[in-house]
Amino acid sequence: MNAATLFGLCAAILVGLGLYGLIVDPRPLRKLLAFDLLGGGVFLLFGIVARRGAAAGFGADPVPQAMVITGIVVAFAASALAIAVMLRLLQETGETNLPDAASAPRQHSDSR
C-alpha cells in the first residue's frame, strides 16, 4: 500500500468521524468543529487525487491542490462567521446552545 492509498483511507475515516460529530452533538461549537474536521477529510481526498495525478514533472497535480487552497480559505471564512454568530448568541442569551436544542428534550420527553 502506498502513501496515497494510506492517507486516502485515513481521509475516509475522518469524513465518517466528522459526519458523526455533526449529527450527534447538539452544541453549535462542536458542530462547527465536526464540520471543519469533515472538511479536512474531504480536502485530503482531493490531495490523494492530486498525488496520484503526478505528471509533467510535478510531484502532484496542481489543479486539485489549488482547489484545496481555495477551500481552506473559504472554510476559514465560514468558521469565523459561525463563531461570530455563536458569540452573539452568548451575548444575547447567556447560553452557548440554541434555545431549541436546550429545551427540546424536556418538552418532548413524553414522545420518546
Partner: protein, 313 residues
Amino acid sequence: MGDMFDVVLAVLVVAVAVWTIGVRDSFASVVGFVAYGLLLALVWVRIVAPDVALTEAAIGSGLTGGLLVSAATRMQRAERSSATPQPGPLLRLSAIGLCVVVAAALAVVVLTLPNPPPTLAPVAAASLPAIGLDNPVAAVLIAYRAVDTLLEVVVLVLATVAVWSLAPDRLWGGAPGQRANLDPGGPLTLLARCLLPLGIVIGLYIFWMGSQAPGGEFQASAILGAMWILAMTAGLVDAPPTSRQWLRALLVLGPIVFLIIGFAGFAMAGGFLAYPVEFAKPIVLTIEAVLMLSIAAMLGLLVAGPPRRRKQR
C-alpha cells in the same frame, strides 16, 4: 522508514480526530482540533503538496486555532452552566451506521480510483510559460482557474460584511474587540515587538517565493493577518473602526483590481481574465500583491470579529 512514518502519522491523525469528536469538554476538543490541523500540515508535506501544507499551517492550524481557542475560552463558563441535551441511543446508533457506510463507501472509492489516474498536470504545465511563473499551483490559482480565485476573494468580502452585520445596530461602524492596554514590560509586548518585523519579512518572503516555489499570496496574507492580530492583542495598534473609508477601500481593492484586469482582458487578449503574453508576469504580480493586502486585512478582521465599541463621533 518513510512508510512507517506515514503509518504512524495516519494513526495519529485519526486518534486526534476521535478525541476531538468524542471528548465532552469543548475546550479540550478545540485544542484537539488545533493538533489535528498541525498534523494535517505534516500529511500534506508527505503527499508532496507543500503549497497546501503552507496554507494548512498558516490558516487551518494558526488562524483557525487562534479564533477557536479564544471563542471556546469565552464560551467555557456559560457552557458549563447550560444543560447539554444528550442524543438518544437510537439516534446514536443510526448515526454510527450512516457514518460507517459513508466512510466505507469512500474507502472503496479510494481503493478503486482509476488507473492510470486522470491528471490535469500537463495542461497546467503548458500554461506556465505564458504567464511567466514557475510554481504550477500559483499559476493555476491566478491564471488557469482565475475565476475560482476571484469568486473566493468575493466570498471573503461577503463573510467580512456578514461578521460586521452581527453587531447590534448602535455599534455598527465601531471598532471590533476591546481596546487592549499596552503592558510596556510584559511578555506579550516583547513577543509582538520582536515577532512583528520578522513575521512581516517572512510573510513577504513567502509571497515573493510564490512565483517560483511553494508559497504565494494566500499563505503570505495569513501570516500578515496573524501579525496584525498579534499587534492588536498586545495593544501596539488599536483595531480601526469599521466605518473608516480607507479600511473599506482596502478590503475591496484586491477584488476590484482583479475584476478590472479581468475585463481589460477582453480588449488586450480576447477573453475574460486573459493576460497578454508580453505583460503577463507584471500583471500577475500586481494582482497577487493587491490580493495579498486585501486578504490579509480581511483575515485579520474576521478573527477580530464584529464591532464591539461605539462609533466615535
